[in-house]
């Protein structure tokens, strides 16, 4: 591979210089990789630094268990619970829509579709990920919202369900692509064995291939949902942002991301409200971090 001239010091390079070079390359790559770790650490550190001062003015217990979010009220209250349930409701709604749909599409693409269809379908699905979320929000506002109102007879289509639908579409590319990879990683011999035992293609798909790829598919779902729980613009535009505790998917909710996005720009620096928004951000960070860790753990289990 290495041409003799490239060394510059003669026709052959000593073993030591090669070793030194490879050590240098390892060092460069290693330090580049650790940059991302350092950035992650710094983000978390600066979040905490701005979040923790809240608890000097406001008891931590009231922040984590408070039932009301009234940041600019005369009697300010920073209760996380309505925002947490809001994010939860929208995300669970998105999961209920996206998981069956995403896994079904992945099964189709990996097990059923002829090669030509697959080559067309996959880029199309991946293109969904390239649409900016504000465009999704606009579609939610002008198309999905009136549709939901008419179909379900609601007073307003600005609801958790609207957010869930948009987020489900946004999670699909991740779920489909990663699930498909997991399904394709199932050894061909499994399918052959199942078919040889007299199982139909459908039975093979549902009872053999899918269970074999289970942890990879689960990880795909979690990564997809980890992405949407942090999604901001679309939910800000279509969920109505009422800070109430509700588990009615047709009602309006205020998510953690929408709260930070809507309030941060106009909150004076250093006020309790400012620190409370950072606390919301830090909580969100930890939730997303945990979801990604679990997904990563499942993927690694799969690889073993």
């Amino acid at each position: 591979m290495v041409s003799p001239a490239a060394g510059g010091r003669g026709p052959r390079r000593s073993r030591r210089s090669v070793r030194r070079e490879s050590r240098r390359a390892e060092f460069v790559l290693g330090s580049l990789a650790s940059v991302s770790l350092v950035v992650l650490g710094l983000v978390f550190f600066s979040l905490l630094r701005e979040a923790l001062p809240l608890f000097r003015h406001y008891p931590a217990a009231e922040f984590f268990t408070g039932l009301e979010w009234r940041p600019t009220s005369v009697d300010q209250r920073f209760g996380l619970v309505p925002l947490l349930t809001g994010s939860l409701l929208v995300t669970v709604g998105a999961a209920v829509i996206a998981v069956p749909f995403g896994v079904a599409v992945a099964l189709f693409v990996s097990e059923v579709a002829p090669a030509r269809v697959r080559e067309f379908l996959k880029p199309c699905l991946e293109l969904l990920a390239a649409i900016p979320s504000v465009v999704y929000g606009f579609i939610g506002l002008t198309v999905v919202s009136p549709l939901l109102r008419d179909v379900f007879g609601l007073s307003s289509g600005l609801s958790a369900l609207n957010g869930s639908i948009l987020l489900a579409v946004m999670a699909l590319p991740t779920i489909v692509t990663l699930s498909e990879d997991a399904l394709r990683a199932v050894p061909e011999s499994y399918r052959a064995a199942s078919l040889a035992m007299g199982a139909s293609r459908w039975e093979t798909m549902v009872h053999v291939t899918l269970p074999a790829a289970r942890s990879g598919v689960t990880a795909a779902v979690m990564l997809g949902l980890g992405r949407v729980i942090g999604e901001t613009m679309a939910v800000l535009m279509v969920t109505g942002n009422a800070a109430q505790i509700t588990f009615d998917i047709f009602d309006s909710v205020r998510t953690m991301t929408a709260t930070v996005a809507a309030e941060m720009a106009e909150t004076p620096w250093g006020t309790p409200h400012y620190h409370a928004l950072f606390s919301v951000g830090a909580t969100l960070f930890m939730i997303t971090f945990a979801v990604n860790m679990v997904a990563d753990f499942l993927l690694r289990k799969e690889a073993r």
């Binding site: 009301e68 009234r70 940041p71 600019t72 009220s73 005369v74 309505p82 506002l141 919202s145 009136p146 109102r149 007073s155 307003s156 289509g157 600005l158 800000l236 535009m237 109505g240 942002n241 009422a242 800070a243 109430q244 505790i245 009602d251 309006s252 205020r254 809507a262 309030e263 720009a265 106009e266 909150t267 004076p268 620096w269 006020t271």
Partner: protein, 292 residues
Amino acid sequence: MCTGRTTLGLALVVLLVGGALAGCGPGTAADGEGTGGTLVVRGSDTLVNLSAAWAEAFMEANPGVQVSVSGGGSSTGFAGLIEGSVDLATASREVNDFERQALIDRGTPPVEHVVAVDAVTMIVHPSNPVRELTMSQLADILTGQVTNWADVGGPDLAITIYSRETSSGTYAFVRERVMGNKDYAASARLLPSTYAIIEAVAQDRGGIGYVGMGYVTDAVVALKVAGDEASEPVEATVENVTSGAYPLARNLFIYSAGEPGPLAKAFIEFCTSETGRAITEEMGFVPPAGGR
């Protein structure tokens, strides 16, 4: 090795120069006042369209002058004044104690100029037969005490409240003037813009929302408001706002940090000049009283 060091050096120079330029940013904006070049105006979303119209006419009348106008909310404008990144702040509320103190600490106490009067208009869906409400009925609706239109003389239909976001000056004004500083109902939907509120109310037969008088469109109906049970319901019109009969009117301000510079002063005077007042009315606001 040698080229590597040169690149690094170059990058450093770029960083330093960039940093120095960025540092200059706010300074030049403030200095602009004196030289008569540019004027940076930021603040209230309620005032942003009107300020832009004033700025356009002002630039036409004074060639070579640049006025840049942006919104973001009254608090954004005051934050800009405190940082020194804007020359003038537009506001739909008075400066608060915190902001006033910060400006005094800077050596430039805020100076207030009333440039227009706005009426906050309550809007409902055109199919809703309710055409007038008293202030106490409005308070009951917005705080969530009354949740059905039947309780205020309308059809048996659930009420949905559409409000501006918590940082809006109008949100604070309605809470203070209508609701006596009680909280909005938790079910109130907080929408990010006036446009979104009109859009939502136009789609919701049981909806009620509030917007500035200048923003009402044919897609919604503006309610008459009575100060109390004894008084006549009043429509939000220029005459009723000027006479003080409409209960939901408020002053709109431009603030400067300290006395305004010559260009800023000229701009503020332009806003309440004959031309400025004509623009104010054209944009659906009311010129301030006693300026004529």
